[in-house]
Symmetry: C2
Amino acid sequence: MKRITIQDIAKMLSLNPSTVSRALSNHKDVNEETRKRVLAVVKEFNYVPNLHARYFRMKNSGLIALILPEFNMFFTHSIMAGINQVLTDKNFTLIVFYSNNSYQREIEIIRHCISWVVEGVLLVVSDETQDIDHLEELKMAEIPVVLFDKVVPNDKFTTITIDDAQVANAATAHIIDNGAKNILGVFAHPSIDISKQRSEGFHRALSSAHMQGSSIFINDISKIDQLISNIDLATYDGIFMMSDELMINMLGALHRRCINLIDFKMAAISDGVLPKNISPFVPHMLHSGLKVGQLAAEELIEEVMSTGTIPIKQIKVQTSLISEP
Amino acid sequence: MKRITIQDIAKMLSLNPSTVSRALSNHKDVNEETRKRVLAVVKEFNYVPNLHARYFRMKNSGLIALILPEFNMFFTHSIMAGINQVLTDKNFTLIVFYSNNSYQREIEIIRHCISWVVEGVLLVVSDETQDIDHLEELKMAEIPVVLFDKVVPNDKFTTITIDDAQVANAATAHIIDNGAKNILGVFAHPSIDISKQRSEGFHRALSSAHMQGSSIFINDISKIDQLISNIDLATYDGIFMMSDELMINMLGALHRRCINLIDFKMAAISDGVLPKNISPFVPHMLHSGLKVGQLAAEELIEEVMSTGTIPIKQIKVQTSLISEP
DNA sequence: CCGTTTCCTGCAATCGTTTGTTGTGGAAAA
DNA sequence: TTTTCCACAACAAACGATTGCAGGAAACGG
């Protein structure tokens, strides 16, 4: 079936398309009477504007691209919820791409975004991404970009992160405050930036309490049982876990080794959802994906809306300690 | 900066825009020599086509809309991963909407989809949605729709679900096979369709084994501790949990009541991700979000691509029992 | 040498919407 | 009565890419 257009409406009412257009956009130059007639026809025939035509003419698109390296159950969903809230509010439409942690794919996606005339890009870089050369094209096309969560440090684009070292430090300090004497730190793959940062914060907390402790880096989470099998857990009385994913897996692994979790002082860095759902409760530095998503979207929209240039910001999201359920 | 267009390229090379366009689309009517020259300029100036212009002219869009009622960590992410795989493969672009479980919002979104001239819609209906009247508009606009996961039973659109009753039945049977004599079924809010279906399957399994058992419906998951506080768990030796969300919360709640989970024969319906991550292992009927997403996307694309009409299908996704880690 | 075919490129229209400019009739002001 | 002004609506151009058709030049056959 052929869609009804503004011209069809114009013809029916013996009006000019321009008048119909203005009627629909509440332009003052159109008589209230004619507007009524237009609206009536719109309703009767279920007219909806063709956004391709509109945005093509207007040279914008109302589209915001979100580029994610992967879909994981621990953080992505709340980030998306946060972004969506903001975008829906401001009447933007979200298109989602998935780089599959490939730098090459990320480049392709960015090209595609330009083709789509998106008005802004929200980017969580892939693990492979080491530089931001590929964002140059977006800059040239004057498309604002906000990097968040995993970022490449730079001074050309707004970034939104947490102070990983400081947060890990605070979480570890909480374990120490609870009286643990020997703490095990559990981290993800050591090559990714946040592992390094959080590990650093962990060790800083230990040394400022004049304590020792050790860290393990889980390269492949499915092998966690093996990886911790040669650790004498009895020597530890505290555990720090750098993420939700590690937390749930670590708890599972300990459980499989029939270790009583009550014996441990624990802390993690978490989105806050999982600790609400599982037992025992794990105190955590609340690193809310929802908030990060919202903030990223808000910053981006601000840049999109502004006419002039806006100062680049390096935002550190505040985190807080959640010490009880 | 102004974007470079086909006409700019044409001017530079003293060609006609039409020739440039044909060169770029590998049309045979253009000399290999000229094509080379065009490609060189394209590369030099980083030309990217304006998809709004193209799709506006071509009357399609390469867009597929995904409408979700909510973002939850338990199923959404794997559904999206599955969809994305297929769409990326077939060169479609995904736009995502979030109905926030509101029927009204769902209607708005569908309108918006038509406005965007999307080529297909993947829909998980909101909890409020009781009918499919609002999909009539899509049908009139000849936009294919695939309903999946949560659906409204109907014979006008392709649907992809699991046989909830049968799956719940099988899971329960597994608990019975393991020797449990008195089984507790844990279900979500009784007003949503899948709760009813799964509860029915659960009870069917019980009665065909000439057993009794009881169910509880968790209206508000944050109150799970209260809800199970008046249950004498000692009388049960088996638990069936209808979803990942209930599973993780139930395990947590039992743990808080210091109940030894080893004493229970358990089974659930699960996406499979969580059981890999937690301990104890919970046998489950594997209801893979990834697979559902893929299948939904594939079915939709097939309808989109086909010229004639395609038979409506009511697909039940196969599930399998995962009885060990 | 002319007619026909082949190969390549140009011309012009088109998609649906928006918007700057122009036109018109009637009322108010002079 | 003439001039001015205003409210309203029509006209036309534009956005960038695609495509049917026309046309020119070279190649080829007779």
